[in-house]
């Protein structure tokens, strides 16, 4: 079962019906975990993968019990290290290929997201032991079906609060329409817009890799980012909408990322739940450690640079298992730390007031945004180019070819971004009560016509592989 299939819609409809007919107490304790287990069986590629996932959940439960009983820093670090090692083994990271049975571990969908939720819970439990979950609530949290495949990432505290409250939830027409609206919007993004850009990206990729054409490479980079956005934002709309009918309010993952003016702002608007997680549990901890280790006030700004580099390096590494993702992590790390260094340099060179003055200028904003998106397209290229292809591109394009490709991409961004930024304000997000049903009807009709005229595989979501 995939999220874009009719079977998923049937699954949501039936689960919502049963959940809303059942009495309050049953919903959180029996129905939600049962629905989640059924979803796991339906989406996992094999029963071996289901067993591996359940085994990993069991391991996390054991870790929460140990964390609760031992309540000390050193055991927690050891527990986290063991979990990370087992995660690395199960994800079959290329650099852990020497581990026994590394090539035989089944692919488990959503493992990276389960890890992130587990780490959040364990780290927070060290400070608040009362968070200690039972096995069933832990299972529901880690594998919660609307968030299993690709998030959004919820904190245990928020999830638990919502799970407790679904017993009193009543499905009204208003909620149903809101859910249908989010889902229709999501399906339109995935089945129409993401598909269009996917075709463009793969077509241009073929031209770019075959003949070393800089403009084709630039086009492929831009089309890939657009595909990634519509694919992931569409998926998020679908699962947020599906969760509505069960009484869940999942956190938002996107806040108009195309409005970003800098690399760091972009990551505050894109995959926000992941960014916030890394900010809270990696960046802040790193910064604190650096300040403790080198407390000089002159170094404070540069602590941020180092923390940004490491955090974004880990963001890249978290996304995939091959050496290409190591390169992606390095590029993201360089982007984030360069952005921070630029801020520091500009502030010391121009002063605070002149810097603000400059930042308000339209041409400066547009140039920064175009540069930001050009670099983002460049740094996420390892998500779609394998390590061998990266080497091939470097060899066949040479430095001049790559500079021309990125220059072409920058010019494309300069042209396209103002149009996107302005037009996004023209579409009302909410409004009259008839607007949502109108949009649902319109989107469904367009999706139906498009998928007939241009059938696509509607395969796995890009983020599913993470």
């Amino acid at each position: 079962m995939t999220i874009t299939s009719w079977s998923f819609i049937a699954f949501v409809a039936m689960a919502a019906l049963v959940s809303n007919l059942a009495s309050g107490n049953w919903r959180a304790r029996v129905l939600f975990p049962t629905t989640t287990l059924l979803f796991i069986v339906l989406v996992m590629p094999s029963m071996l993968a289901v067993s591996a996932l359940l085994g990993f959940v069991g391991l996390i439960w054991l870790a929460t019990e140990l964390t609760y009983r031992l309540r000390a820093r050193t055991p927690l670090i050891l527990i986290l290290a063991v979990i990370l090692a087992i995660f690395g083994w199960m994800k079959a990271y290329e650099f852990l290929a020497f581990l026994p049975f590394a090539s035989q571990v089944p692919v488990v969908i959503g493992l990276s997201y389960i890890l992130i939720r587990a780490l959040q819970l364990l780290i927070d439990m060290a400070e608040t032991p009362s968070l200690r979950p039972g096995l069933l609530p832990l299972f529901s949290f880690l594998t919660s079906w609307p968030c299993l495949i690709s998030g959004p990432i919820q904190r245990f505290q928020d999830f638990h609060e919502q799970l407790e409250s679904i017993g009193t939830f009543k499905l009204s027409e208003e909620v149903f329409v809101a859910a249908a609206h989010r889902m229709a919007k999501g399906y339109f993004m995935v089945l129409v817009l993401a598909d269009m850009f996917k075709h463009l990206w793969t077509g241009l990729e073929g031209i770019a890799l075959g003949n070393a054409n800089p403009l084709a490479l630039a086009g492929a980079q831009g089309a890939f980012l657009a595909h990634l956005f519509f694919d992931f934002a569409g998926y998020t709309h679908i699962v947020i909408g599906a969760a509505y009918v069960f009484g869940f309010r999942l956190p938002e993952n996107f806040d108009r990322p195309w409005q970003s003016k800098s690399f760091l702002e972009f990551w505050g608007r894109w995959h926000m739940t992941m960014s916030n997680w890394f900010k809270t549990y990696v960046f802040n901890s790193l910064l604190m450690q650096l300040v403790k280790r080198w407390p000089s006030s002159k170094l404070t700004s540069f602590h941020g640079v180092a923390a940004f580099f490491l955090t974004f390096f880990l963001v890249g590494l978290w996304h995939g298992t091959t050496w290409a993702y190591v390169i992606c992590g390095l590029l993201l790390g360089v982007g984030a730390s360069a952005n921070q260094l630029y801020r520091i340099a500009l502030r010391s060179w121009l002063g605070k007031s002149r810097m603000h003055e400059l930042s308000a200028k339209q041409t400066y904003i547009l140039a920064s945004a175009a540069l930001t998106f050009t670099y983002i397209c460049f740094s996420v290229s390892p998500l779609w180019l394998s390590y061998e292809q990266i080497r091939l591109v470097a060899k066949s394009y040479g430095l001049i070819g790559l500079i021309l490709a990125q220059g072409g991409l920058f010019l494309m961004m300069l042209t396209v971004l103002p149009i996107i930024q302005r037009s996004s304000f023209a579409i009302p997000i909410s409004g009259a009560t008839w607007w949502r049903p109108l949009q649902i009807g319109l989107l469904c009709a367009v999706i139906d016509a498009y998928t007939f005229l241009f059938p696509a595989f509607g395969g796995a979501f890009f983020y599913e592989r993470f």
Binding site: M196, H199, L215, G401, T433, A445, F452
Partner: protein, 373 residues
């Protein structure tokens, strides 16, 4: 319920508007293709798959026993219903063959035919399985061959036949391998297909994908580095004379070599996969009541002698069919050497003049084996 009704009404209205726009663009729908001539004229694999999916349901209207021929392009061209009808006006012949079909895809076409045809008609009808060795190409090769399969399918790494690909147009209910197809009643499948009758006329006029025109822009092939390089010496216009027409046999041999490569296996080695599928297909067709006749399709003598796959294919085919023929549950007709070499236009297909001879031979053999109503 007010808002949901509004959403449904808007969806219906917008769909009607889209349909209206299609009518304005391409005119009102013509009558669907008669089932008898589904395979003709040959256009493209995708177009043939569309016909098989969207027009085969007309088999539901069949009121008398029939001969349904399934196979690949040789059967399409060799047993043309119009010619066969002239040879045997008393018989109802449907040719459901599809160019490039392997046994897997043939099986899918048979599924569509079985679903559509009333069971009492199936039980009085003959299913002619017209096979030849290229139909035993494994799925992994046939459906990931860049010569025939669109790049997006190869990029996805999925094994998906032309039938399955075109079936995606109607929400998988038309896909013979989907659960929905297996369990949904025929009227529901038929209704789903009919919804798209208008849109279907637009498909051949559209690019395969909406963004294909963008991919054709010269911009993507423009390389600014060329400006930086020194001007290359202009090549003098070529004055080479056009290549002389190649003798027929040279072209035909080349096509045979192409088929050898097309099989994608070590020369002379044929995998079991498609033979197993043939076995299952025969069991299924017999199970629903078809009288099954397997026809070994004609090949020119030089092709039979030179192809590394022909001899192993013959051995394996006879092994698979042995248990059925010895028990008398199916019939086997070998036409492999029944056609003189000069009736082939290439290494496998009949020439235009020979088509009626091919059809006549098949009908004669079928009349010997089966008494038609």
């Amino acid at each position: 319920m007010k808002h949901l009704s509004l959403a449904l009404i808007v969806a219906a209205l917008v769909s009607l508007l889209i349909q209206g726009a299609i009518v304005i663009m391409v005119g009102r729908p013509a009558a669907p293709w008669p089932v008898e001539v589904l395979s003709h004229p040959r256009v493209s694999f995708a177009e043939e798959a569309r016909r098989a999916i969207f027009f085969t349901p007309d088999l539901a209207k069949t009121e008398r026993s029939m001969i349904a021929i399934v196979g690949a392009s040789a059967a399409q061209e060799g047993f043309q219903p119009a010619i066969a009808k002239a040879e045997a006006p008393d018989l109802l012949i449907h040719n459901l063959s599809m160019g490039g079909a392997n046994i897997t895809e043939t099986d899918q076409i048979i599924d569509i035919a079985i679903k559509a045809t009333p069971s009492q008609i199936v039980q009085r009808s003959v299913l002619v399985l017209a096979v030849s060795y290229p139909m035993f190409v494994p799925d992994s090769k046939r459906w990931s061959d860049p010569v025939f399969v669109p790049p997006d399918a190869i990029a996805e790494g999925k094994i998906i036949s032309d039938i399955q690909r075109e079936a995606m147009r109607c929400s998988s209910i038309c896909d013979p391998s989907s659960l929905l197809f297996k369990y949904a009643p025929e009227w529901l499948i038929s209704l789903s297909r009919d919804r798209y009758a208008l849109n279907l006329r637009l498909v051949p006029r559209l690019p395969a994908h909406i963004t294909d025109p963008i991919l054709k822009w010269n911009l993507w092939r423009y390389d600014p580095r060329r400006k930086l390089e020194s001007k290359r010496a202009k090549k003098s216009p070529g004055n080479a004379s056009p290549a002389p027409d190649e003798p027929f046999l040279v072209i035909a041999h080349r096509q045979m070599d192409f088929l050898t490569k097309y099989m994608g296996q070590p020369e002379g080695v044929l995998q079991e996969e498609q033979f197993d599928k043939l076995r299952m297909l025969i069991d299924k067709a017999k199970g629903v009541g078809f009288h099954v006749v397997v026809v070994d399709m004609p090949l020119p003598s030089w092709h039979r002698q030179n192809s590394p796959f022909f001899a192993p294919y013959e051995t394996k085919l006879r092994d698979v069919l042995a248990s059925y023929t010895s028990a008398g549950t199916i019939d086997f007709v070998s036409l492999v050497d029944a056609i003189p070499d000069d009736e082939f236009r290439d290494s496998i297909h009949p020439n235009a003049e020979a088509a009626s001879h091919w059809a006549r031979i098949l009908i004669e053999r079928l009349r010997v084996l089966h008494r038609f109503d």
